[in-house]
C-alpha cells in the first residue's frame, strides 16, 4: 500500500494540475449516494437556499440580541476614553491616568459561542470607536514576548486596513524584532500625528478625542491567561497610559470574581473595572427557536424527538448555540438528503409550481407516504381510485393538501403562542415555562389528552380577573398582529371577552348591593331560625357562587381556549403530507452528534452478533461463543481479572477456548504449529486490546499487564 512506510508518517498526494481542475460539484455527491433519486439537484439547491436563509437569520438575531450589550460597551469606552484625555492638571485625573479602563464582559459558560460574539464586537468597535481593536487568545501568548509580538502585529494590521498608504512606516516597525511598550507608544504617536497632520496640536486636546483613538485590547479568554503575563502587561501599560491610551476588555466565562483571583490587589488597583453581562444562552436559544422554528417563514420543521435531542444536547452538554445551529443544519441536510419529497419543502407558491413538474416516480412516492395513505383511506371510493391512478388528479389534490398544511402551520403557531400566554405564568408551570417545552408536548401527541393540560384548565378556572384580562390582552395583540384571516374571528371574540370583563366592573357593584340587601334581611330571630336561615344562605351562596357573572365569563374564556387548542393544535403527524416538511429521524441525528464510542466498542467486543449477523455468534446473555473473533475472547477473559493480569494464564485460557473451537472443524496442521498459531493470535489480540486502551504493560510484576478499566467495562 502506498500509505504505509517505516520511515514516514505523512503522505502527500497531489494530482497534476490539469486533473485537479475538473473538480466534482458538490451536488453530485448529493445524488450519487442514493442511487439516482428524484430531483436531487433541486433538492440540494433548496437545501442551500434554506440553510443560507436560516444562517443569516441567526446571525441577524445574534446581532440584535447583542445590541444592548454592545451599545453600553461602546458608551463605556467613549466616556472612559474622553475622561482620560481631559486636562490632566486635576489631581483626581492624575490618579485616573494610572488606571486602565477595563470592561469585564461576562459571557457565560458557552465558550464556543464567544468567538462569534467577540468578532461582532470587534466589528462594532471598529466602526464606532476606534480602528485599533486587537483581540488576543491565551493560547497565542504563553509569555510576555509573544503577547507583545501578537499585539503589535495585529495593531499594524489594523492600521493597514484603515489606511494602506502608510505601509512604509508599518514595514519599518515590523522589521523591528524587539517589541516593547516604548516602541509601541512611539508607533502610536507617529500614527496619530500622521493621520491629521494639518490639525494644529492645541486643538486636539480640546475639541474631539477622536484624533487620538484609544487602543482596545480584547482578551478573549481571560481565565486561561498566565497570571504573570497579565500582571506584567497591566503594570507596564499603566505606566505608558498617558502616551498609549489602552482600554482592556476581558472575556470571562465564569464569574467576575476570577479577576481578583488572577490579579493581586496591587495590579487590580491599576484597573478601573466595569462589569457587563451578556445575554444568557438560554434566552438566546429561545429566540433562535422562536424565529427559526416557530414561524412559517421557514417551511422546514423538526419532529418532537429531534427537537428534544437538540435541546437536550444544548441543556445537558454544552449550552452552545453554535452546536444547536449545527444540529439544525445537519437535520436540514439529512432531511433533504434522505427524503425525495423534500423537494416540496419550500415556500407555498414555489412548491405548487414544483408539484406540477413532479415525475411519475415522485407521484408514487407521494402515494407511499403513510400520512397520505391514511388520508386516502378516509376518502370516498371514487376519489380513492382517482387518487391512486391519475397522476394529474393526485397533483391537484397534493396542491390543496399542501396549502392546507401551510394554513395549518399558520394557525398552529398562533394558537401555540396564545396557549403559551395562558400557561407560562401558572404556578408550577404544568406545561412548561418555555414555549419550546410546550411546543414539544404539542408535537408529540394530542395535548388535551395529557394530565398536565387538564391541570392547566383547572388552574385557569381559578385565575383572578386582572390576570385573566392581561393574558387576554396579550392574546389579542398576538392575533391582531397576524394578518391571517382564518383566525380573524378569534381576535374579535377575544375583544368581546375583554369588553365583557370591563363591563363586569359595573355589574359587580350591583351584585354587592343585592347581597347587602340580603344580609339586611337577617333579623332578630331565635336560635333555630337563625341556623336555618344561615344554612339557606349558605346554600344560596354556594349556588350563586357558580353563577357570578365573572365566573361564568371565565368559564367561557377557558372553554374558548380549550376549543381553540382542540381545533388547531393537532399534532403534525395527523396532517397529510407532513413528511415533506418534518424531519423525524432522531436516531441518525443522535448518532452523528452525540455518539458514544465507548458503548460501541463494548458492544462490539461483548456481543459480536450485534454487528456480525452470523448464527454461530448468537448466544445467550453475556456469554460469547468460542468461535467469536479473537479479540472478543481475549476481552471476555480479561474481564475476569482484577487489576493485574498474568499473561501466561491469559494466554493459556485463550488457547483453551480457541482449541475447543477449532476442534470442530477438521484440522490437518500439526499440533505444535497450531499452538504457535494460536499463540500468535493471542499476541495479536493482546496488542489490539492495548491499542484500544484496555490494558497497558506494567513493571509491577514480570509478564503482567495492568487493566485500565474496572467493573464490567
Amino acid at each position: 500500500m502506498a500509505t504505509s512506510s517505516v520511515s514516514k508518517g505523512c503522505f502527500v498526494f497531489k494530482p497534476n494540475f490539469k486533473k485537479r481542475k475538473i473538480s466534482v460539484p458538490i451536488e453530485d455527491y448529493f445524488n450519487k449516494g442514493k442511487n439516482a433519486s428524484e430531483d436531487s439537484k433541486l433538492r440540494f439547491e433548496t437545501y442551500q437556499l434554506i440553510w443560507q436563509q436560516m444562517k443569516s437569520e441567526t446571525e441577524r438575531l445574534q446581532e440584535e440580541l447583542n445590541k444592548n450589550l454592545f451599545d453600553s460597551l461602546v458608551e463605556f469606552l467613549q466616556t472612559s476614553h474622553s475622561g482620560l484625555w481631559k486636562n490632566s492638571k486635576d489631581w483626581s485625573c492624575e490618579i485616573k491616568l494610572r488606571e486602565i479602563p477595563t470592561a469585564a464582559l461576562v459571557l457565560g459558560v458557552n465558550v464556543t459561542d464567544h468567538d462569534l460574539t467577540l468578532r461582532s464586537l470587534t466589528e462594532v468597535l471598529q466602526n464606532n470607536v476606534t480602528p485599533y481593536v486587537v483581540s488576543l487568545q491565551a493560547k497565542d501568548c504563553p509569555d510576555m514576548k509573544h503577547f507583545l509580538q501578537k499585539l503589535v502585529s495585529q495593531l499594524m494590521d489594523c492600521k493597514v486596513d484603515v489606511q494602506s498608504k502608510e505601509k512604509e512606516s508599518v514595514q519599518v516597525i515590523q522589521k523591528n524584532v524587539h517589541y516593547s511598550m516604548d516602541s509601541l507608544s512611539a508607533w502610536y504617536m507617529s500614527v496619530t500625528q500622521k493621520t491629521d497632520p494639518k490639525m494644529p496640536r492645541k486643538k486636539r486636546t480640546s475639541s474631539s478625542q477622536w484624533q487620538s483613538p484609544p487602543v482596545v485590547l480584547i482578551l478573549k479568554d481571560m481565565e486561561s491567561f498566565t497570571t504573570k503575563v497579565l500582571q506584567d502587561f497591566i503594570i507596564i501599560s499603566s505606566q505608558h497610559l498617558h502616551e498609549f491610551p489602552l482600554i482592556l476588555i476581558f472575556g470571562i466565562a465564569t464569574s467576575p470574581v476570577v479577576i481578583h483571583r488572577l490579579l493581586p490587589h496591587a495590579v487590580s488597583s491599576l484597573l478601573c473595572i466595569e462589569l457587563f453581562q451578556s445575554l444568557s444562552c438560554k434566552e438566546h436559544l429561545t429566540t433562535v427557536l422562536d424565529k427559526l422554528l416557530l414561524t412559517t417563514q421557514f417551511p422546514f420543521k423538526l419532529s418532537e424527538k429531534v427537537l428534544q435531542i437538540l435541546t437536550n444536547i444544548f441543556l445537558y452538554h454544552d449550552f452552545s448555540i453554535q452546536n444547536f445551529i449545527k444540529g439544525l443544519q445537519l437535520s436540514l441536510l439529512e432531511h433533504f438528503y434522505s427524503q425525495p419529497l423534500s423537494v416540496l419543502c419550500c415556500n407555498l407558491p414555489e412548491a405548487k409550481r414544483r408539484i406540477r413538474f413532479l415525475s411519475a416516480n415522485q407521484c408514487e412516492n407521494i402515494r407511499r407516504l403513510p400520512s397520505f395513505r391514511r388520508y386516502v383511506e378516509k376518502q370516498s371510493s371514487e376519489k380513492q381510485v382517482a387518487l391512486l391512478t391519475s397522476d394529474k388528479f393526485l397533483k391537484e389534490e397534493t396542491q390543496s393538501l399542501l396549502e392546507n398544511l401551510h394554513v395549518y402551520h399558520k394557525n398552529y403557531f398562533l394558537v401555540l403562542r396564545c396557549l403559551h400566554q395562558f400557561t407560562s405564568s401558572l404556578p408550577k408551570y404544568p406545561l412548561g415555562r418555555q414555549i419550546r417545552e410546550l411546543y414539544c408536548m404539542c408535537l408529540e401527541k394530542n395535548i388535551w389528552d395529557s394530565e398536565e393540560y387538564a391541570s392547566v384548565l383547572q388552574l385557569l378556572r381559578l385565575l383572578a380577573k386582572d390576570e385573566l384580562m392581561a393574558m387576554l390582552q396579550n392574546c389579542f395583540k398576538l392575533f391582531q398582529s397576524s394578518s391571517g384571516k382564518e383566525l380573524g374571528n378569534t381576535a374579535k371574540k377575544i375583544e368581546e371577552f375583554l369588553a365583557q370583563f370591563q363591563s363586569l366592573d359595573a355589574e359587580t357593584k350591583e351584585e354587592e348591593d343585592t347581597s347587602q340587601s340580603q344580609s339586611k334581611g337577617l333579623q332578630k330571630t331565635d336560635l333555630y331560625h337563625l341556623q336555618k336561615s344561615l344554612l339557606e344562605m349558605k346554600e344560596l351562596r354556594s349556588t350563586s357562587k357558580r353563577q357570578t357573572k365573572f365566573e361564568v365569563l371565565r368559564e367561557q374564556v377557558v372553554s374558548f381556549v380549550d376549543s381553540l387548542v382542540r381545533e388547531y393544535l393537532l399534532p403534525p403527524d395527523t396532517q397529510p403530507l407532513h413528511e415533506t416538511l418534518y424531519f423525524s429521524s432522531a436516531h441518525t441525528l443522535r448518532q452523528h452528534l452525540n455518539a458514544a464510542p465507548r458503548i460501541a466498542l463494548h458492544t462490539a467486543l461483548n456481543n459480536p452478533y450485534y454487528y456480525l449477523k452470523n448464527e454461530a455468534l448468537r448466544s445467550e446473555e453475556g456469554c460469547i461463543p468460542n468461535v467469536a473473533p479473537d479479540i472478543c475472547i481475549a476481552y471476555k477473559l480479561h474481564l475476569e481479572c482484577s487489576r493485574l493480569i498474568n499473561l501466561v494464564d491469559w494466554s493459556e485460557a485463550f488457547a483453551t477456548v480457541v482449541t475447543a473451537a477449532e476442534k470442530m472443524d477438521a484440522n490437518s496442521v500439526t499440533s505444535e504449529e497450531r499452538n504457535e498459531i494460536i499463540h500468535a493470535r493471542f499476541i495479536r489480540a493482546v496488542s489490539e486490546l492495548e491499542l484500544l486502551g484496555f490494558i497497558k504493560p506494567t513493571k509491577q510484576k514480570t509478564d503482567h499487564v495492568a487493566r485500565l478499566t474496572w467493573g464490567g467495562c
Binding site: M1, T3, S4, G9, C10, V12, F13, P15, R20, Y29, G33, T112, Q329, L330, L333, L593, A595, P597, R598, L601, A604, N606, P608, N614, S619, E620, E621, G622, C623, P625, P629, L639, S642, R643, N646, L647, V648, D649, E652, V657, A660, E676, I677, F682, I683, R684, V686, S687, E690, L691, L692, G693, P697, T702, D703, R707, W710, G711, G712, C713
Partner: protein
C-alpha cells in the same frame, strides 16, 4: 480465568447438547471443578480428558459470566462479573429464577446451568445501584496494593516472544472467519462515501469510531473518492509523527520553500494562504487521531484549527477507549465533528506493527539479535567492557534499588581487567555504546554518573550464554 475459558470453550455446543447431559458422571465432576483457584484448577483440567472438561459447567462461574447484552445500558450493569466465589449467592439466584424460561432445563440438568440471572430481575433496582456499583468496582479493584495472580512467567514457556516477521507469517496462516459478514459490514460503510464527501464539503469534519482497524476503509475512501483531489494521508500510529510533520506536509502541498520559526507561525501562514485562495482544497486523512504522538493538547489544538479552515476537509479515525476525552468544548467546535460508527472487526495489523507490543520482541529496547550484531562489530576490549557491565547488572538484578554502576567503580573494574588505561578511553567507548543505545547514563542524587543497560535481564542472560558458547 481457566474456569471461564473452559466455559467459553463449550458455549456454542451448549444449546445443542444441554439436554443430553444428564449423565450422572458429569454432575459429579462439577464440584471438583468449581472449587479451588485457577492454577490448581488448570492442572486438573489438563489432566482431564478434553471432552470431559468441555462438558463441565462450574456453577459459580456461570453466574459470573452473565452480563446484560443490551446496547444502551452499557457500562455499569455488570455487577456480577467480578465477585469471587459466592456459592451461596448463586444458590439464591437459582431460586429466584424458578419462573425463568430455562428453569426446565435447569431442573433437567441438576444445576448445571445457573441461568441468566439478571435478565429477569427488575431493572429498576439495578439502575439505582448502578452508579454506586461502578464506584465500588473501582475501589474494589484498587483497594489492596497486592494483587493475587500466579507467578508464572513467559520465560518458562518456550514460545515466549516472537518477532514481528514470524508473527506475521504465523498469522497469515489463520483463515479469516466470518468473511461474508465482514464484507457486508464493509459494504454498508462504503455506501456512506458519497455522503461523507457531501458533508465534508458542507463544512463538517468526520470522525470514525468503533472496533476494528479503519485504515482499509479510509484507504478505500481515498482511492475511490479522492483520486483527483489534493490530499494528505497521515498515519497517526507512526511512532515518529508529530504536528510539525503534519504541518510540514501541508506546506509542502502549498509549495512553500523555507522554514518557519515556530509551529504557530507555520499555522498562521497556512491559514492565510487558505483564506487568500478560496479555490484551494485539501483533504486530510488521519488514521488514529488519538495516537500517542498526536493526542497531546497542543497537537489537537493545532489540528483542530487546521480542520476549522473552510477548505481543509478532515476525516479521521479514533480507536482508543477514552479518545473523546482529548477534546473539550472549544476543540470540539473547532473540529465540528460528525461521528460515524464504523465497526469493521479488521485487525489492527499496521497500527500495532510499530508498537513495542507486549509479547512481540521489543524493538525500542534492544532485542538479542541486534545486541549480538552490534557487539560483533566492536573491538574485543569494548566487548569486554560491555560484558563487565552486563555481569554487574545481572548480579544486581534482585536488588530493587539498583540504579546502575557508578562510573568510577566501573573505571576501576575495567582497569583491573586491563581493558582501558585511562578514563578518557573508557568514556570514548561509552560514547560508542550510547550511540547504539546500548547503555543509558543517569546522574544520581550525589552527582555521580550511573550506567545502565536498558535491556531486559532475560535477554542479557541469553546473550551471555550465547557468547560463552561461541568462545
Amino acid at each position: 480465568m481457566a474456569k471461564l475459558a473452559s466455559e467459553l470453550a463449550k458455549t456454542p455446543r451448549k444449546s445443542v447438547s444441554l439436554n443430553m447431559k444428564n449423565d450422572p458422571k458429569i454432575t459429579i465432576d462439577i464440584p471438583q471443578c468449581s472449587k479451588g483457584h485457577s492454577s490448581s484448577d488448570k492442572s486438573q483440567l489438563k489432566n482431564n480428558d478434553k471432552s470431559e472438561f468441555l462438558s463441565t459447567a462450574p456453577r459459580g462461574l456461570r453466574k459470573r459470566l452473565i452480563v446484560p447484552r443490551s446496547h444502551s445500558d452499557s457500562e455499569s450493569e455488570y455487577s456480577a462479573s467480578n465477585s469471587e466465589d459466592d456459592e451461596g449467592v448463586a444458590q439464591e439466584y437459582e431460586e429466584d429464577t424458578n419462573e425463568d424460561i430455562l428453569s426446565q432445563k435447569i431442573q433437567a440438568q441438576n444445576r448445571e446451568v445457573s441461568a441468566p440471572v439478571f435478565r429477569e430481575t427488575p431493572s429498576k433496582k439495578m439502575k439505582r445501584e448502578k452508579t454506586s456499583h461502578l464506584v465500588e468496582k473501582y475501589f474494589e479493584a484498587h483497594s489492596s496494593s497486592k494483587v493475587l495472580t500466579s507467578d508464572r512467567t513467559l520465560q518458562k514457556l518456550k514460545r515466549a516472544k516472537l518477532d514481528q516477521q514470524t508473527l506475521h507469517n504465523l498469522l497469515s496462516k489463520v483463515s479469516p472467519s466470518f468473511s461474508a459478514e465482514l464484507k457486508q459490514l464493509n459494504q454498508q460503510h462504503e455506501q456512506l462515501f458519497h455522503k461523507w464527501m457531501l458533508q465534508l464539503h458542507l463544512g463538517f469534519n468526520i470522525v470514525l469510531y468503533g472496533l476494528g482497524s479503519k485504515r482499509d476503509l479510509l484507504e478505500r475512501f481515498r482511492t475511490t473518492m479522492l483520486q483527483d483531489c489534493i490530499h494528505i494521508v497521515i498515519n497517526g500510529f507512526f511512532p515518529g509523527i508529530s504536528v510539525k510533520s503534519v504541518l510540514n506536509s501541508v506546506t509542502e502541498v502549498l509549495d512553500h520553500v523555507g522554514t518557519f520559526r515556530s509551529v504557530l507561525d507555520q499555522l498562521e501562514w497556512i491559514t492565510n494562504k487558505f483564506k487568500e485562495d478560496s479555490s484551494l482544497e485539501l483533504f486530510l486523512l488521519i488514521h488514529n487521531l488519538d495516537s500517542q504522538m498526536l493526542r497531546g493538547d497542543k497537537s489537537q489544538q493545532i489540528i483542530g484549527q487546521l480542520s476549522s479552515l473552510r477548505n481543509i476537509y478532515l476525516i479521521a479515525s479514533i480507536d482508543h477507549l477514552n479518545a473523546p476525552l482529548m477534546w473539550d468544548h472549544a476543540k470540539q467546535s473547532l473540529y465540528n465533528w460528525l461521528w460515524y460508527e464504523t465497526t469493521t472487526y479488521s485487525h489492527y495489523t499496521e497500527e500495532t506493527s510499530y508498537e513495542n507490543s507486549l509479547l512481540v520482541k521489543q524493538s525500542g529496547s534492544l532485542p538479542l539479535s541486534s545486541l549480538i550484531h552490534v557487539l560483533r562489530s566492536l573491538t574485543p576490549n569494548a566487548r569486554g567492557i560491555f560484558r563487565l557491565l552486563i555481569k554487574y547488572q545481572l548480579d544486581n538484578q534482585d536488588n530493587p534499588s539498583y540504579t546502575g554502576l557508578c562510573f568510577q567503580d566501573f573505571y576501576q573494574q575495567c582497569r583491573e581487567a586491563f581493558l582501558v588505561n585511562s578514563d578518557l578511553t573508557l568514556r570514548a567507548q561509552l560514547t560508542e555504546f550510547r550511540d547504539h543505545k546500548l547503555i543509558r547514563t543517569k546522574k544520581g542524587t550525589d552527582g555521580v554518573e550511573y550506567l545502565l543497560i536498558p535491556v531486559d535481564n532475560g535477554i542479557l542472560t541469553d546473550f551471555l550464554e550465547n557468547e560463552e558458547e561461541e568462545l
